[in-house]
Symmetry: C2
Subunit: 77 residues, 2 copies
């Protein structure tokens, strides 16, 4: 199975959502990417359709935006 | 394991998110509730902290608000 990717930026809302997602779908099924620290992956996230974090990119290419934490544009500044 | 509950109101955004969630965590692990049709469960959803749909109530009581579809207040009107 292709992994989901959970993009976040370290905010409290992100961390809480991360724990929920990992609990629900299993740590082995999701790659967690901190785009506040790993800034080279911001453009990858944008290309996938991520508008805000936290967000979950599913294996079929859909993006689920979770409890709004931060706009991806604010992370690029 | 206690099931998660996915609250939605039948909107296209809700249906798309529902499919993703069911694929990710498995149909057996989530109860799907259409609060546009089953209006008696709106107050239950509100009490759990649901502010908009689609939303996923996790087994530990957290609410993940997904891609914004509709405010729960708009559903009560």
């Amino acid at each position: 199975m292709v992994k989901s990717i959970f993009y976040h930026a370290g905010c409290p809302v992100c961390v809480s959502a991360e724990q929920d997602i990992v609990n629900l779908i299993g740590a082995d099924n999701v790659e967690v990417v901190h785009i506040g620290e790993d800034r080279s992956r911001i453009s990858e996230a944008e290309k996938a359709g991520v508008k805000s974090v936290p967000a979950l990119l599913t294996p079929n290419g859909n993006v689920l935006h979770l409890n709004f934490g931060a706009s991806i544009n604010d992370l690029k500044g």
